[in-house]
Amino acid sequence: MTSADPIRYPDKPETVYFFGTCLVDNFYAQAGLAAVELIEREGVRVIFPQGQTCCGQPPFNSGYRDEARRVARAQMALFPRPFPVVVPSGSCGAMFRVHYAELFGGPDTAVSEQAQAREFAARVFEWSEFMHHVLRVRWEDRGPPVRVSYHPSCHLQRELGVRRAPLALLEQLSGVTLCPVEDAEECCGFGGTFAVKQEPISAAMVDDKARKIVAGGAEVLVACDAGCLMNIGGALARQGPAPRVLPLAQFIKERVHEA
């Protein structure tokens, strides 16, 4: 599952595709917009195909591969040109980059489709990874001093192998002090349908996560996956006074924006 080979990153492109993900689309649209604008700020054109819906991970993770495959096929068709595909989510990014090959690797998929899935997977990048490794952004922090914790989401760190990039982006912001969180790399308990189907376990996990984040003393919690943020944010809100929770792109946009 972990990509064994180190990723070879392309040179800065003129144009990229943006895949917003269904969660960002419906719950964190402003963060999606921020992610797009921060790419454009670097002089890169962003194409957002309006036909996009979801990467297909929910049915795939539930074992319904046929259903996932049909949706996946429709998504791939929307990104035909060889531009990088930027995704503001480690989980959806991993679905594209790691699992499409499995989804289209079986004996019942055409060879041409297998090749298409591989070609597509190879140009998918998670947003923070893309900003750090491909665009190599340099930012100037315009915000007031703030204490921030970063939650490394599971698929981002373990399936995509992206551990440094989000921190590297945050470290560029001079007003930001990073607050470590105990057992930071442990899963928050979201897990898609797991959060609902295994509610007691999921809630026990996220309660612990929320408590450890509060103990870390941050004023803001950022992450690269909307699912985790919904989950952790939801638990923090129940626990009382809590840090603000928002996607990394949106946080950065607020800090580097020229008033």
Binding site: M1, T2, Y17, F18, G20, V24, D25, N26, F27, Y28, A29, Q30, G32, V36, V46, I47, F48, Q50, G51, Q52, T53, C54, G56, P59, F60, N61, S62, G63, Y64, E67, R70, V71, R73, A74, H99, E102, C154, R158, E185, E186, C187, F190, G191, G192, F194, A195, V196, Q198, E199, P200, I201, S202, A204, M205, V206, D207, M230, N231, A235, R238
Partner: protein
Amino acid sequence: MKPDAGRFKVDAARATLNATLRQNLNHTLGLIRARRDAAFEALTAPEELQEIGQAIKQESLARLPELLERLEDRLTARGIQVHWAETADEANAIVLEIARRRGVQLVVKGKTMVSEETELNRFLQRHGIEVLEADLGEYIVQLAQQPPSHIVAPAIHMNRREIADLFHEKLGEPYTVDIEAMTAMARRVLREKFKTAGMGVTGVNFAIAETGTLCLVENEGNGRMCTTAPPVHVAMMGLEKVVANLSDLPTLNRLLTRSATGQAISTYFNWISSPRRRGEKDGPEEVHVVILDNGRSSVYSDGELRDTLACLRCGACLNICPVYARIGGHAYRAVYMGPIGKILTPQLAGLETAGHLTGASTLCGACAEVCPVKIPIPDLLLRLRQEGSQPTAAGRALFGPGAGSQRKPAEAMLWKGWQVLHDRPAYYRAATALARAAAALLPRRAASLSPWGRRRELPVPARASLHALLRNRPGA
């Protein structure tokens, strides 16, 4: 003990609310993880070692039938008797037969998960033979009349006060929470048993085909006692425990003990290659090996799921698992719990019985990262979820991935509907707009009625979707 979807939900929920259990597990799992991490960090290129371990096990699995025959041949040549068992019942019957022939009344046992799998203790006791667990953790859970809650540390769910109560009540010893004193009590009791036991039963960590050698890894000395003091030693092993070469041992053992306890090597690494030879003054007169299938050969026939059989039973995946840490081992109602249990149990017991365990995972991947032989546990969970979503076909095998199904028609319909909405952009946009509007109208308090909202606030839907915000962009 049988996995059961309904009971799992109840047991798991109850366990998450058991403050003592959570505290016990937080303490012990935290310690054990730190020890494991330190042991790997002390190495140069630890990941490479994991890759080599993986290669060794895969190579041995690829040659499994040949290696088993060779193992049998070597063991037999030196007087170790080899038995083959297709099922748990067969394995138990073999052990009983040996015990009867030798007139055994008391069996002492080293730690063996295979004997848990066959429920040997219950079986022998039903036939009038006393069985005593000699590993301290196993001894504790046996006294408590519980199954082990962890494959390496059977009593990890109990704290010293609970164990003190148990010893006080069951052994009639003066109450003490002093761990050394409690260990000494167990030593005293078991010592007498070692002297009189007619049979020692143990597991096998590695069986070397090249030389016909059974290797046991342990710290306490109970395994050495069980293989030395009684006149008969019976070693029970899953058929996947065979490895090809003697030269594979250093790597595999390095990985096993570091992953299990953070030790560079266990206190005892015990290699057995024959029964007592002429002139030798101790050691068992008879050594038997029971090679158990119990569904493994069926797992083996699937090129992807076969990776499950590479497992060293180190327990590292349990220790890192966020789900295991919240519910403990008993909630699984399975001999193998935690991440390895979630892939192994449904394959051995069938998906209909145990398929629900594959759902008790966020697919966070922490297990695959620490696994010393790099078993891709999340990928195998996904594969089993897929198998489980298929309708049951006639004529499927008794064991293995094809055994039964956990398909629920309503769920299948739901995913079909999901697909229809998501492969047609217009449907998707209309449906999500509707859902966002509806959610905005919903009173906040209603949220707590949904499973999500019981202990979490619902997320607030975006007023305008990203689709809408970007409608006027190029490529739209």
